[in-house]
């Protein structure tokens, strides 16, 4: 797959900037998300908070359910495959989804290898907790990076940690000399050419979105101010009391994230947000962000 094709993939990610991508589990939710102003939807059978509750193995969704959503909405439709499960990714490509999320929310299929994403015509998004992880995924062909955060927690703390870490890592590279960059590439386990590129441009080579725990308009504004270019909202919309109103409010706050008066307007009078979990309620080893490397 050539550089041209990679740039076309990044092109769609560019068009999703400044927006909100919402998790939906059926046609009705997809319609609500679209009319609330989502710039894309992520079609999956169970949203992360339910996956967490139900336990068991979480796999790629039923293609029929994804297809129905594709027929219903005109905005891009994304779907998730398990980490390293390239056959699921091939099925999603055959289905012509617009983006594949190789996601830690599903149970990993390969503990050592992620999908070699350059082999696909469909663009991929992958999660990260720091710059090294982001650059490893980009080297494999991810056209879009998002923070992992802690999916299904309704708790923004991990997404903040991951976004701040990525931004600090980038700032650090900017001030390093070439010989320091070689050492740093080794430390962070990332390809030197990408490390050099980030040091020079001061940003990721692909768009940088936020995900994992966003539940309110102010959460979205926070992530955008920390450097996210778009936000994914998983359980936060459809686990709240009034999904359509909350969805619309998060969209408006994302557009106007710099203007507190607009975020205020969007936040006012919303019914209850999802309950959420403190990180101490999620034992280590059960944290979704620890999946993948």
């Amino acid at each position: 797959m050539g550089k041209d094709q990679f740039n076309v993939k990044i092109g769609l990610a560019e068009m999703l900037k400044g927006g909100v991508i919402m998790d939906v589990t059926n046609v009705e939710e997809a319609k609500i998300a679209e009319s609330a102003g989502a710039c894309a939807v992520m079609a999956l059978e169970r949203i992360p908070s339910d996956i967490r509750k139900d336990g068991g193995i979480a796999r790629m969704s039923d293609p029929k359910m994804i297809e129905e959503i594709q027929k219903t909405v005109s905005i891009p439709v994304m779907a998730k495959c398990r980490i390293g499960h390239f056959a699921e990714a091939q099925v999603l490509e055959a289905l012509e989804v617009d983006f594949i999320d190789e996601s830690e929310v599903l149970t990993p299929a390969d503990e050592h290898n992620h999908v070699w994403k350059h082999d696909f015509k469909v663009p991929f998004v992958c999660g990260c907790r720091n710059l090294g992880e982001a650059l490893r995924r980009i080297a494999e062909g991810a056209a879009l990076i998002r923070t992992k955060g802690e999916a299904g927690s309704g708790n923004i703390v991990e997404a903040v940690r991951h976004m701040r870490t990525v931004m600090n890592d980038i700032a650090k590279l900017k001030s390093m000399s070439k010989e320091q960059l070689v050492a740093e590439a080794k430390n962070m386990g990332a390809p030197l050419d990408l490390v050099m590129q980030v040091s020079k441009t001061g940003k990721l080579p692909v768009p940088n979105f936020a995900a994992g725990g966003i539940a309110t308009p102010a959460d979205a504004a926070l992530m955008m101010q920390l450097g996210a270019e778009t936000v994914f909202v998983g359980s936060g919309i459809f686990k709240s009391e009034d999904p359509e109103a909350r969805g619309k409010a998060v969209v408006e706050a994302t557009t106007n994230y710099k203007y507190a008066s607009k975020v205020l307007e969007a936040s006012r009078g919303l019914k209850s947000a999802m309950k959420g979990l403190d990180m101490s309620e999620i034992p280590e080893g059960e944290r979704l962000q620890e999946r993948g490397w």
Partner: protein, 203 residues
Amino acid sequence: MIKIGVLELQGNFESHHKILKKLGYDSVGVKNSNDLECLDGLVLPGGESTTMSLLIDSFNLRDSLLDFSKKKPILGTCAGLILMAKNIENESRVNPLGILDITVDRNAYGRQIMSKKEQINMKFNSKLVDFEVTLIRAPKIIEMGDEVQVLLDLDDSPIAIYNGMHMGLSFHPELNGVTLFHESLFRGSVNSNFQAPGNINAA
């Protein structure tokens, strides 16, 4: 100095700001009607037309955009073109502005997997120029009013049009650093730049 706004509701505004700066223009983001004051032109960027259409109404921008379009040139790329259309085939979720007398078929070129780069060869200022553009889930222009002229065709479909004041593109020149469409429209020299409409082939 020429001052051009870019509608910043959702989408890829950054690449348009880059093109405008490259041309030496002052470029500013537009989020509400006050931002439209003192502008010489406006860009409606690529992104999702459903989202932008909803936000145009949430933020009460519709009337100001229509007033602006009566006085100043507007350039729409991809989703921006959809928003400028008069009609959208089989689509009720987007409420377009009707600035260009055209009908578009949204995503007619297919899903993301069909998105592509195209090599363009065309005459500009009587000289042959070639450059690349990117089509991403691109809209197709399927009907046009009499005053709309075609600036560029691809596979027998118009992909760049002009109505004497506004320009619509179904592709993204901004993703490939192509400045000539922005320059031509905002300098007001479209007719002299593109003397021979249709005299164009895509390789």
